[in-house]
């Protein structure tokens, strides 16, 4: 329900509004900006992540802020190098999954009838098949590398988006302005691209953000299993090597804590951004927020019964 309501705030302006107004959204955006900066500019400043710089499994020190890994490579340099690939795959898959989901979901919702029935069953089947085992099986047959990981995660991850976007399209079709356009004799495709899709823009952005969280987590999982290219430095392969080099048994926590923390921070930032956006655009939550602020100014507690605020 809150999703359907969110369409009222259309376009990207709503996002800017959310970031300005909501503490959660703002903190998410800041964390994300820092990671994006590191992903883009970091590799120019950090050293070569594959260079063997010292004794393996050294704890953090002045020379190596995050220590060295089992091969004697600098963990910080690896972390920075891994940021770029991990984020690129994450956002790439997030985008691809929403595009594929939109293609299926919007088509189903818009054309209805048999097209809808067929596509809905198709996406529901994909929704119910366990994603990770399926991704593993497909990835195992393909040459390993970030591209394979991205492809596999896109193939297994689009169904949820299709389902939500189908419902969105159905709701939009029933709205007055779309009905008016139908009466005015606009062509189907124009209607779809001009009236429907732009009105879902803010929801699409929310979906890209949510799907990116999924993609980063699943990517790290696949790579941890050894299904990535283990010679390439990403957060996932760092964790793979940490496990392989028995990080736990040797007590070298610095080899697995940093990449996991980065994954969590990015996921947290993205989710905060989304939930802050929901908080701002959900009309019910917004009304309540204004009401609470008003009561607070008047010094009246917000109880369960209608409060009595004596005018000054």
């Amino acid at each position: 329900m809150s999703r359907a309501d969110a369409t009222q705030a259309t376009g990207l302006g709503a996002w800017a509004h959310a970031i300005r107004r909501d503490r959660k959204a703002l903190s998410g955006a800041i964390i994300l900006a820092v990671f994006a900066l590191v992903g883009i500019a970091g590799p120019w400043f950090a050293g070569d992540p594959s260079a063997l710089v010292g004794v393996p499994l050294q704890p953090p020190s002045g020379a190596h802020w995050l220590g060295t890994n089992g091969q004697g490579q600098d963990v910080l340099a690896q972390l920075i190098a891994g940021t770029r690939v991990s984020l690129a795959v994450g956002f790439g898959v997030g985008l691809a999954v929403v595009l594929l989901g939109a293609l299926v979901g919007v088509t189903a919702g818009y054309f209805g009838d048999r097209v809808d029935a067929l596509l809905s069953v198709f996406s529901n089947v994909f929704l119910v098949l366990p994603g990770l085992p399926l991704a593993i099986v497909i990835a195992a047959y393909l040459p390993s590398g970030p591209f394979t990981v991205a492809l596999v995660l896109t193939l297994t991850g689009w169904a949820w988006n299709a389902r939500v976007l189908r419902a969105q399209t159905l709701a939009l079709r029933r709205r007055d302005f779309v009905a008016a356009a139908v009466v005015a004799g606009e062509s189907e495709w124009r209607l779809l691209l001009v009236e429907i899709v732009p009105n879902m823009l803010s929801v699409l952005v929310a979906q890209v953000i949510g799907s990116t969280v999924y993609a980063i987590g699943a990517q790290v999982g696949l790579e941890f299993l050894g299904l990535g290219d283990v010679a390439r430095v990403t957060w996932g392969t760092m964790l793979y090597w940490a496990q392989n080099d028995a990080a736990l048994l040797t007590g070298s926590w610095w080899t697995f804590v940093p990449p996991g923390l980065c994954v969590a921070l990015v996921g947290f930032a993205l989710t905060m951004l989304n939930s802050g956006f929901d908080e701002i655009t959900n009309p019910r939550l917004q009304l309540e927020r204004v009401w609470r602020a008003f009561l607070e100014r008047r010094g009246v507690p917000a109880g369960r019964s209608t409060p009595v605020v004596r005018e000054p």
């Binding site: 009304l287 204004v290 009401w291 009246v300 917000a302 019964s305 209608t306 409060p307 605020v309 005018e311």
Partner: protein
């Protein structure tokens, strides 16, 4: 006049919005005697339903009560604590909601919903509560076997009857009917109103009946209050309002809803639309649509003045 059951003075209810509060009930005065039926009429969005829920203090956010006094059975409702309100609600003052489909819990039986009401207020056993729930259903004309039914298994009329049974469960002194028949067809509507009337005569509770259908209300009520844009514009005995309305808005309403037995004459709606409560017009809020408005109407808010025995109107121009 005997001691009023309910007395509302100077009541203001606001909806808090981002651009400041919007007044949905503006300085309303009302009295209600025990056993009396008071009708409140007005176009949708004029604040009449807000007033009803404010009396029970169950208006959800973003509503606040900004001013006034509500005295019910000698007690100040606006000063009540949460437990006091819980004690008053339903036991002394209950309500029938507009849409019974939405007002009934879809996943529990209507029997459970009747019984939990009784159990919440009276120290009776579960068996006794269920027996009484069955008796209540039969009182509104539904066989007691339907206690195990869910809301979606009943017809619209039956659901509304369940709503009435719920409202009568604790034999309150006041029952508020908030457009209880809008979702029903005319025959069922008439049947249900007649039923309420019979119950009201035997049980003696007072009624506040809220509707936008003035004609129906005039038949049903003892006294009538007309709402326009959050304000009361006319109050009086139903017979007086029916035959000699004073306020131009009431006259317009009467013309817009010709009674079934009225002599020929097409329905004639009031020109224009009701104002937004966000930006109400100054002075008398009806002046932009009023056929007899004078210059003063644009500037000053007309007071609600006595124009006959028990008859008040907020129009200094009309004769």
């Amino acid at each position: 006049m005997s001691a009023p059951l309910l007395s509302v003075r100077d009541l203001c209810v606001d909806y808090v919005t981002e651009n400041g509060p919007v007044r949905a009930v503006d300085t309303v005065d009302l009295d209600l005697s025990p056993g009396e039926i008071l009708g409140i009429a007005g176009e949708s969005g004029c604040g009449k339903s807000t007033l009803a829920q404010a009396l029970l203090r169950t208006l959800p956010p973003p509503a606040v009560i900004a001013r006034g006094r509500v005295t019910f059975e000698g007690r100040d409702v606006l000063a009540m604590s949460e437990p006091e309100l819980r004690g008053m609600r339903w036991r002394r003052m209950s309500m029938v909601f507009q849409s019974a489909m939405d007002a009934l819990n879809p996943v529990t039986t209507i029997g459970e919903q009747l019984a939990d009401t009784i159990l919440a207020h009276e120290p009776v056993s579960g068996t006794e509560a269920r027996r009484r729930a069955g008796a209540l259903l039969e009182r509104v004309g539904i066989p007691a076997e339907r206690l195990g039914s869910y809301a979606h298994q009943l017809s619209g009329g039956m659901r509304q009857r369940v709503g009435i049974a719920l409202a009568l469960a604790l034999e309150p002194a006041l029952v508020i009917l908030d457009e209880p028949t809008t979702a029903l067809d005319v025959i069922v509507e008439r049947e249900i109103l007649a039923h309420i009337r019979t119950l009201q005569r035997t049980l003696g509770f007072a009624v506040i009946y809220i509707t936008h259908d003035l004609a129906r209300m005039l038949q049903f009520s003892d006294r009538v209050a007309i709402f326009y844009a959050a304000r009361l514009v006319e109050v009086g005995p139903a017979a007086t309002i029916a035959t000699a309305p004073r306020h131009p808005y009431t006259r317009g309403l009467l013309r817009a809803f010709p009674r079934v037995h009225a002599e020929a004459g097409a329905a004639e709606s009031i020109p224009g639309t009701p104002p937004s409560l966000r930006t109400p017009p100054p002075g008398c809020r009806f002046h932009p649509r009023c056929p007899i408005a004078v210059e003063a109407c644009r500037r000053e808010r007309p007071a609600l003045l006595e124009v006959g025995p028990g008859h008040l109107a907020a129009c200094p121009v009309a004769r």
